[in-house]
């Protein structure tokens, strides 16, 4: 019952038989159990699940920060589990944009420098990069705060900078881990809307972990992580059409 994919190419992300166990002293805890998932290019996917379900764990695997205990993670044709730590870091540098829950920004860099950082790491030319960073910052409504340091910004402004930074270097996909967790409702909605607009404009794939049910309104697909496996749910726009959801 997967939603219609916007593109029929090979999937941008394919997880196969992913298991992740953490050992805590003598005992082992299996957070993800033989989990499989494919995401197509340009899809906007929401990952739900209660605290401790393993959402962050899953995002860390997709970004190559962590390795699964077993299984394959194929991103755009490359199996991350076969790469070295450095290779995965370089992969992340070009292919992933991050929005975290909090402490998103580098406190010793100004707003524009934070946005420039992924561009510089990706090896963009300085002039072009600056231009690009200014544009994307203007787009998130921070055209007048280029030279402020992050601690001078409100929580919502910081998250908007984070959104700009996540998209500045035109990554393959954006991973967001509870991007609205530290914001009030109103501000959270603005940030979500901004993120959604930007990924759709640029055709970037989005995987967002959240408790926020409002996020479902914008999603192409909704995944629920429960007991270490994923359950696909109808996204709101289809569920609305089909009548009230049974849940």
């Amino acid at each position: 019952m997967s939603a219609a994919s916007p593109s029929s190419e090979s999937p941008v992300l394919a997880l196969q038989g992913i298991t992740k166990t953490y050992s805590e002293g003598p005992s082992e805890r299996e957070v993800l159990q033989d989990l499989s998932l494919t995401i197509d290019r340009g899809e906007s996917v929401v990952l739900m699940g209660r605290s401790g379900a393993g959402k962050s764990t899953l995002l860390n695997l997709v970004s190559g920060i962590d390795l699964p205990t077993s299984g394959q993670i194929v991103v755009d044709g490359t199996d991350l589990t076969g790469l070295s730590e450095t290779e995965r870091t370089l992969f992340r540098r070009t292919n992933i944009g991050f929005v975290f829950q909090s402490f998103n920004l580098i406190s010793t860099l100004t707003v524009i420098e934070n946005v420039l950082l992924p561009l510089e790491l990706a090896g963009a030319s300085l002039e072009g990069a600056r231009q690009q960073a200014q544009e994307v910052l203007a787009h998130v409504g921070l055209g007048d705060r280029f030279d402020s340091f992050p601690d001078r910004l409100s929580g919502g402004e910081q998250q908007r900078v984070a959104v700009a930074r996540a998209l500045a270097h035109d990554p393959l996909f954006v991973l967001a881990d509870e991007p609205t967790g530290n914001l009030d409702y109103e501000t959270g909605q603005q940030v979500l809307a901004l993120l959604d607009d930007l990924v759709r404009e640029t055709g970037t794939t989005l995987l967002v972990a959240t408790h926020d049910r409002e996020a479902l309104d914008r999603a192409d697909r909704v995944l629920h992580l429960r007991g270490g496996v994923l359950h696909e749910e109808l996204p709101n726009f289809l569920a609305d059409a089909a009548g009230p959801s049974p849940e």
Partner: protein, 522 residues
Amino acid sequence: MSLLQRSSLRYLTRHPWLMGLSVLGVAIGVAVVVSIDLANGSAQRAFELSAETVTGTATHQVVGAGGALDDDVYRRLRVDAGVRPSAPVVEGYATLRRGDRTFQVIGIDPFTDALFRPYLGTGAGGNLDLGSFMTQDAALMSAPTARSLGLALGDTLRVGVEGTEHPVRLVGRIEPDDERTRRAVANLLVVDVSTAQRLLDMSGRLSRIDLLLPSDNEAQAAALSRIRTALPDGAQVRRSDTRTETVEQMTRAFELNLTALSLLALVVGAFLIYNTMTFSIVQRRGLIGRLRALGVTKRQVFGVVLGEAALLGVVGTGIGVLLGIVLASGLVQLLAQTINDLYFVVQVSELSISPWILAKGALLGVGTTLVAAIPPAREATNAPVSTVLRRSTQETNVKDLAPRLAGAGLGVGALGVLLLAVTEQSIVVSYLALLCLLGGAALLTPLLVMGVASAARPLFDRLFGVIGRMAARGVVTSLSRTGVAIAALMVAVAATVGVGLMIDSFRGTVEDWLTQSLQADV
């Protein structure tokens, strides 16, 4: 400048105290190394100069059994054996009441001496009044020294030897031709042989006889055998450079002592750098984790941390070198004074600043800083790549480790005490012991902090309630930060006290050492 570098530079400028501490650590270490090195170098040169001056151009010397020769030996050598370029010397030390200075008294025969020590101006063509020089208690002194003491020709000097004062008239001044001679003769009091014998209570005896033997091997061997037959029992002829060798041996041992001292200072500096860098890394674990998430590689993180250390090292070294030069001019006085009191008469008032020594100090400073920064830099690369702040894992590590660290600290400290107790001989071992004590103290710190914090908890509880208890517990939970900070502070204090003690005990050490080695000589 890349954004990473800019970010790290901003971190440094936002933590001026932390960075000041590191810079200070390096600066003190380098300053001590450079100053001791410079003082060593200057003293060494002065030793050499002084040894050369009194030896003059002599190739060989005749010395007696107990450090003195009978007058008669000279006559026998010169008249009976016909050993012609030869000159008697009576040597000793005296203090001059004016200026409270120690001088080397050298008694010579003005008729034969010019060949050996031409710069004294006793030869033909000099304007020395030989009559009064040889018949009265008369002396020559370097012109610049006389000037600085406010002495004119004809003035009477009060020359003290072992408590007795003798009036001696200043009848001539030595005008040094060059800088080297000027320094060499600055502390000389030149008198006639008979005057020296009277002053130094050596009547009928000589300190040695200087010889100028042919350089040709065969002729020299022939001359030597002729001399040997003329010598009484106990007297011997030796090459004059053996004397310089003794001086060299002495200065070498002396240098070792000082160098060990200076390296200790450098180790303290390195420890300070290690501590502050570690502290800054622990503080930035979250930041580094976020950078790593954005695609900054371990190698880049390592490079940035080493870059920071290099910057601190360069700044600290620069300050240290300047400070070292200042310190050295004080040190060199202290050194010369001590040595003068006991053995040599040298003037080391001038500091010779060798660029080689400065370069060596600079290299050592920056190099040590970089080496000390390697462990924290590695620690930085191991910061967990984080999308959220998670410090608690690190904290518990240190907490679990604390007893083991303390155990190691006790062991190392005990080793230090043992070494100190066992050794009174070896300088190297003593310094090793000191190092052990320092390291042991640092390793004990985390457990001590935890102990103090948990002891303070009930007290805080009663005084301030829940907030007080939280404050005390906060110290423990953020141990990886406080522990390092407290260790750094302790080491800073230890370093300051250490350097103070070092300078204070400097004289004592040198004196002890000199008496010991003098006893060994005799």
